[in-house]
Structures are given as C-alpha cells and as structure tokens.
Amino acid sequence: MNGVEIPSRTNTIHDYRQRGGSIAAVFPIHYPRELLRAFDILPVEVWGPPRVTGSSGEAHLQPYICSIVRNSLSFIHSGSLDMVDLLLVPHACDSLQGLGSLLLDFVPPRHPVLTLYLPRGRRASDVAFLASELGAIYGRLQAITGYSPSKSELMASIHREEEADALLSRLHRQRRHISLADEAFYRLVRSREYLPAEQFSSLARDILSQAIHSKLSGTPIILSGILPEPASVFSSLNEFGAWVAGDDLACCGRRIYPPGHSDEPFQRMAERILYAPPDPTRGSPIAARLDYLLQLVKDTAARGVVFYDVKFCEPELFDLPRLRQGLLEAGIPSLAVEVDISDELSQPVINRLAAYMEILA
C-alpha cells in the first residue's frame, strides 16, 4: 500500500454541488457534521489554511493573533470561499471567538455567518445547553434553506457520522498495520474534514481491508497540538527514523467522536462532541489530558511525545509544562516546538526534531 486515492477538496465540493447539495465552510474545532448534512449541506473545514498570504488578515488583526485565525480571515478576503453557501464559526478560544465576531460585525463575507458556542465541561447542564444551542442552529439552517429535516432524518444523519467516526477510530487503532507513510496516512485521516461521511467510510473500509499483520518499523512517537502543519513535519520525522503512532491533534485524534446514547437528536449530537477525547478548548482538566496521553503512549508503545504547537495558541501553551512534567515522571521524554502555519518548517525546528530523535533512539 504505497498511496491512496483521495478525492480532492475542490472535486468533492464540485461533485456535491453538482448533485444539488450546498457547502458550508467550517472553522475549527468542534461542531456537529450530522446537523449540516441533514440539511444536505457538506461541511468543508478551514484550518487556516496554510500557505495563504496573511496580509489581508493582518489588516484587521494584531501580529500576536495566531496564524490559523489570521490566515482564515485572509482566505475569506481572497474570495476563495465565495463558492460556499454559509460559514460556521464554532467557539474554541478567544481568537476564534474574535474571528466570528469580526465576520459578523466588521468584515462580513458574502454569505451568512453562523456561530456556535461550545460549553467547557461535561456536566448535565453542558449537554443540555449544547443541545439547545444546536436546536438554535437548526432554526437558522431551516430559515436559510427552507427545509426542516425530520427527527428520523436527523437520526439517520447521526448514524452515518457515527459509523464514519467508528472507522476513523479503527484507522487510528490499527495505524501500525497500515503501510502508509505518515503524510499519506494523515491525508487520509484529514479527508474527514471535507469528504461526505459515506464516502470517507468507504475509503476507510478499503484501507482497513488492506491492513497487514507486519508492523511499521522505526521509533513510534505521539504528535500533539492543533494541526500537523507545516505537514513537512512528517517527512522530517520519518527521515530521522520516527513514525507517528498516535496523535493528540485537535484536527484529528481529539475529534474521534464516540457514539451518543440519547434518542433525542440534539442531545445525542451534544453527547458526541462533549464526550470526545480531552481537549483544553472544551475545558478538559489537565490531569485528564495527561492520563489520555499516557494511555495513548501505552497503547501505541510510543517512545516520546512531540508537542507541535501553533505560536500564540494559549489553550495549548498553558498545559504544556504540566503535561511535559507528567510525561517525564512516567519516563516519556517530550519535545515542544512552535510553528506558524504560514511558514515552512524552519531549520532550527528540524534540528531540534533531529536531536530529539537521536535521544529517543
């Protein structure tokens, strides 16, 4: 298995439109795909994106705002999202909150902007609030599309996404038996950001059916952070003898949503989001994050953890010292590097990765 044919974003959007569907550009991190799909709207996620000239974003934002938000604003200004029908900005941090607010008040795009507040806990009140919030978004989508999906349509959409998430989870668990290089594997995993669930599921089933019994060789490590950009981190790690055995990335491993339990659609969607793996932007305690990382290390036999963080990302930066200390106490050395998703991987970062891998080896 040397590579995998994954439809491109552009083709996916084109095909979805061709058969009468609509497109939503969705910003990080958590949101219910199933709700949008029930309205026949395909969510296509925008994580920055990298390699976008940030100048038009810089015209509205100070230099200490992270490159994800800066690039997002530039990307919208560039007209690259003109083909979508609406924008959804979930709340994740102060900077993404600011992006949503700027889009609503000062720099409105051509299409409607919806916002979604994610509660920061797993209490019954959090689930109830999120269910109400999703109900409110249902109302907005109803007004925009003129369509009102029934309860059974909502549940069917939920089941479709739950199946895709179960397959995503299996891909992660069987990573060592999937003979794809890290970059190709994460291209596959991240196709969940734009492929319709049924298409992703079909792709994932194909890959899983080809899983082999032999194991990938090299030093297994865990990658933590928001997103693996610049993606050349994978080739650098592979070059230094490492492979990514598991991840705690906001765009990947932290979004392996479990199935919900409720028969009430909004409640079930809320359960799925709030019971996903620990995430600082959902208020998970640091101890829960550490336990999760230690379990991941154990399950994957990883030898180290690389924190690959976007500069100025407070949710990640606050947890780092205590996570690293906890890992060290468990005998797991870690490395923390900061990057700007607009830049190439810098030589000092590459050197630090090389030195770290030498230590692990």
Partner: protein
C-alpha cells in the same frame, strides 16, 4: 476553626493590623493636609480619599494572609459572580488584582520569570504568568497569599481564565467551579441565561459543601444589594467625568477601582465610594480637574499599562490632555442596573453574561462611540494589549471606525498590561507624539 486560631486572627488582623493601617492612613492624610509638596506641574494632587484606598487594599491582603484561621478562601476571576461566596463568608481573592499590583509595583518581571523558567511561554497572559510565578516561588509584594479551598472561574472576561484556573486546580487539588458564560455575538439567548443560572445554582451547592454551611437567602440578598450599591456609586463616579474639567482621570480610576472589583458586597466599600463621590462633587463645584490645564479629552480602551500609569498620565497631562473615560473602568459600573435584588440568582445570571468582554466587537464600538459623544471627547487611545486577546481583537477596525464615524483621531498603542518587556517606550512616545499633534493639543 478553633479558639486559638480565631484569637490569632483577631490579634493580627482586627487589632494589630487595623491599628497599624489606621495609623498609616492617618499619617498620609495628615501629610496631605499639612501641604506636603506634590511633585507634578501638570497633574492635580491625588484625591484626599487616596489613603483610604490604600488602607482598604492593604487590609484586604492582610485579611487574606490570615484568612485560613477563620474562613474558607476562594480564588476567583475578576468577572465572576461572588455574591454567594461572600454570603457564605468566603474570603475572596483575585489573582488578577494581585497581578496588577505586581505590575504597578514593578516586581512582575522577577515573579513572572519563575513561571517562564518552569516552561510557561511568554505568549500567555502576563497576569497568569505573574500568578503562576507567585505560586511556584512564593514571591509576592504582599507578604503571603492565602491558599484556596475553592477556585471559581467565569469565562465572561476571556477563555484564558479557564486555561489558567485549570493549572491552579492541578496545582492545589481543590475543586474548580466553572461558570461558563456563552459569548454574546448578538443577542443573549434564553438558553444561555438558563445555562448560567443553572451553573450558579450548582456552584452554590459546591461552595456550601466546601464552607460546610448553608446559604442564607437573607444574607445573599444583603450582599447583592451592597454589590449593586457599590457598582452604582462607581458608575456615578466615572460619569462625573462628563464635567469639564474632569475631576479625576482614568489613570486615577484604574487605582480607585480596586474595591469595586475585589470588595463588592461590603458595606465599607459602599461607604468608601459614597465618600469619593462627595469629594468629586466638591472638586466639580470648585472647578478642580484631574489635570491642571485640561485642553483635550480622550478615551482609553482596554486594560491599563500598569507599570507606566504615572508616566502616561504625566506625559499626556503636560500637553493638556486628560484621559477622562474608559471602556474598562466603565465596565465595572454599567452592569449595576442588572443586579436584581428580588431574584439574586436570575439577576446574577443576567448580569454576568453582559460584560463588555463577553460581547461582540461591534458592541464595543457602539459603546466607544457613545462615550465619545457623552463625555465630549476629542480622541481615543486604544491600548493593543498583547496579553488580552478578547479585548484587543477588533481594535484595528474600531480605531478606523471611531476616526471615520466620530471624526476624532484614534491611536492604537502597542503594549502589554503587565509585562514591561513587551512595551517599547521610544516607540510608544513617538506614536503618542503623533497622536498629540493630530489632537492639536
């Protein structure tokens, strides 16, 4: 609590502390009355009430130092609903205020470096770095901080406080109560109010367990009433600056706001602000302004630059510029009308959803424009605060829109509220000079 501990508290706080602080206040008031030389050609001498402010702040930290002898301690964020904690007799401590104190006393750098050496990035909030530095090293200008029995974080000022309080919870192993206030992009939704109300009720249950006493409805009403009175008085105080000349500057307000932030719900806070209001009215009647020659009046947006307050006050005053209104100091008074003393829990839920930092960038622009009109302002300084992203995002457009729609110059001043290493004096003064020129001062 045993008898010995209670006696120790009484001796240290109520007897020795009160006497020492009372004497120091008397000494300062005496010096002011006897006309000790005031070293500024441009700024009016401080309010007569200033020694009282110092006494209140010093007493607050003294009570905190010995609080464990008599009461439970809660660490809270500055926008948190504290009325129920006060009613349950918690000592309420504000790490942000302690951070500001460290910034004002220029010890932040030394303390924050303790956190930075432990791996906390310089890109995280400088209040948080100061606080974490203190908890890792014990360094503080106030002697000793009380250990918390409970942490209460309310997200109505930023999400940073939750990231920060998770670190505290991990360090102290005490309950962290979260009051999550959904950000108000446009209108407050009924389900947001229900959510906050439910969380306050849950928080009360936890606080009752920690304090081992039930919340008395009568006591909660009393605290809510006092809280509302203090906020109303504060609002009247900041609104007195509509007078020309303004009787106090925003730089004075930054110092005088400490009690309304950290001592709400107390009779002595109400008495203090009632006296301050009286003194301001006397100043207005005599035509005394905060600066000696007020020619231009300006708005301040965002937190203060704590370590350069006096410098900025002096620098602007020498050009006849009085900074008389601020979105930040105003915020502590404008919610007063929402504090519902008939239904304190519902009132708290509504009140604590509404702060300026929990609302959209357009809402802040509207407030700024309204203040420019109401206070007859000639310009605006927007402090682009590296440590406070929710306050700072949107300022680039707000500056342009204030200029365009109000016809006044507006300046974006890059700094950090607490970390002097992120402030370039030369660059700031060059930009201030250009602004002063545009004001025609």
């Amino acid at each position: 609590m045993n008898l010995v501990a209670s006696l120790r508290y009484t001796w240290n706080v109520d007897f020795l502390g009160r006497a020492a602080l009372g004497f120091r206040r008397w000494q300062s008031e005496h010096q002011a009355r006897s006309g000790s030389p005031w070293k500024s050609d441009f700024i009016t001498p401080p309010l007569q009430i200033s020694p009282w402010t110092k006494q209140l702040i010093a007493r607050h930290y003294l009570e905190g130092r010995y609080a464990h002898l008599r009461r439970k301690v809660a660490w809270v964020t500055s926008g948190a609903p504290i009325e129920f904690l006060k009613a349950l007799d918690f000592f309420v401590y504000y790490p942000e205020n302690h951070g500001a104190l460290c910034g004002t006393m220029r010890v932040m750098e030394e303390i924050a470096s303790e956190a930075e050496n432990a791996g906390y990035s310089r890109d995280i909030c400088s209040y948080a770095r100061t606080d974490i530095g203190t908890l890792l090293s014990g360094k503080t200008p106030v002697g000793k901080l009380p250990r918390p029995d409970l942490l209460l974080a309310c997200t109505n000022i930023c999400q940073t406080v939750l990231f920060w309080y998770r670190v505290l919870a991990d360090h102290f192993h005490v309950p962290l109560v979260l009051i999550d206030t959904p950000f108000v992009y446009a209108q407050v939704t009924p389900h947001s109010i229900d959510f906050v109300k439910q969380q306050i009720e849950e928080a009360i249950t936890v606080a009752e367990q920690v304090s081992a006493k039930p919340l008395q409805a009568g006591r909660l009403d009393q605290v809510a009433r006092l809280s509302r009175q203090a906020s109303q008085l504060w609002l009247e105080i900041v609104e007195r600056c509509q007078s020309r000349p303004a009787p106090i500057s925003v730089f004075d307000q930054f110092i005088q706001m400490a009690p309304v932030v950290e001592m709400r719900g107390e009779q002595y806070t109400v008495d203090f602000y009632a006296s301050m209001l009286k003194e301001l009215d006397e100043r207005i009647a005599r035509g005394v302004g905060a600066i000696k020659n007020e020619r231009k009046r300006v708005l301040w947006d965002n937190l203060p630059i704590w370590y350069r307050i006096r410098y900025l006050a002096e620098y602007l005053a020498q050009h006849g510029i009085a900074v008389v209104a601020s979105t930040y100091t105003h915020a502590w008074g404008e919610l007063a009308s929402l504090v519902d003393t008939d239904d304190p829990i519902e009132g708290m839920a509504r009140t604590y959803l509404y702060p300026i930092l929990n609302r959209g960038v357009g809402d802040k622009l509207a407030r700024m424009k309204s203040m420019i009109k109401k206070y007859h302002l000639d310009g605006a300084i927007l402090h682009s605060d590296r440590s406070c992203k929710p306050y700072s995002i949107g300022q680039v457009d707000q500056r342009d829109l204030v200029s365009r729609e109000c016809g006044v110059p507006a300046l974006l001043l890059d700094a950090d509220h607490n970390d002097p290493r992120l402030y370039l004096e030369q660059q700031a003064s060059t930009r201030l000079d250009a602004f002063i020129e545009m004001l025609g001062a």
